[in-house]
């Protein structure tokens, strides 16, 4: 069972690393923020499985804090001043 959990963690970690490509590529800032949001969700899942496998219930508190604060960065992003690039230009890149 231990190894199943570690295999699960490794798998989730690899999907998370794959998501990095979207943060690098964009093309729009919104894409990068969405990928970062997915990052947070996957990390919460990893923390929960890790709490189970290493028998450290305190790691659930870490996941709880992560879940509680997950929306703040995206909110800060969308509340920024409007971008000045001409519309549609970024999408084509």
């Amino acid at each position: 069972m231990q190894y199943f959990y570690f295999a699960l963690i490794l798998f989730l970690l690899l999907t998370l690393v794959a998501g990095l490509w979207r943060i690098r590529r964009g093309p729009t800032p919104a894409d990068r923020m969405l990928a970062a949001q997915l990052f947070g969700t996957t990390a919460a899942a990893i923390l929960l499985v890790l709490a189970e496998v290493s028998d450290a219930p305190a790691l659930r508190d870490v996941a709880l804090v992560l879940a509680l604060l997950a929306a703040i960065t995206v909110t800060a992003f969308t509340r920024r001043a409007r971008i000045s690039l001409p519309p549609g230009d970024d999408d084509a890149r």
Binding site: M1, F4, L8, F11, L12, T15, L16, A18, G19, W21, R22, T28, A30, D31, M33, L34, A35, Q37, L38, G40, T41, T42, A44, A45, L48, V49, E52, P57, R60, A63, L64, A67, L68, A70, A71, V74, T75, F77, T78, R82, I83, P87, G88, D90, D91
Partner: protein, 97 residues
């Protein structure tokens, strides 16, 4: 019995996380990628949490897991809404075929 059910749920959750990542990489624009994100949150994390709940040591732990899932649901639903309206206000046209 409970353990094998837990494994099945965890595997199903992992599959949705994979789907979320593939969608994030393959979908053509911001609006469709929102879809990928929410699959990972709603079902991926939901199934993983459900699988872990079956293994949890106490009722309090079950409750905490459930709250974590609810909070991330609220976060990603709001984030999707905000990002979509941001993209629209900045004039990014939705992808058409």
């Amino acid at each position: 019995m409970l353990a094998s059910l837990s494994v099945v749920l965890l595997l199903a959750g992992a599959a949705f996380f994979l789907g979320g990542s593939v969608g994030m990489l393959r979908f053509p624009d911001v609006y469709t990628r929102l879809h990928a994100l929410t699959k990972a949150d709603n079902l991926g994390l939901g199934l993983v949490v459900l699988g872990l709940m079956l293994q949890a040591e106490s009722l309090a732990a079950v409750g905490k897991l459930f709250v974590i899932w609810l909070l991330l649901l609220a976060a990603s639903a709001t984030a999707s809404q905000l990002v979509a309206s941001w993209a629209q206000e900045n004039g990014f046209a939705p992808w058409r075929g």
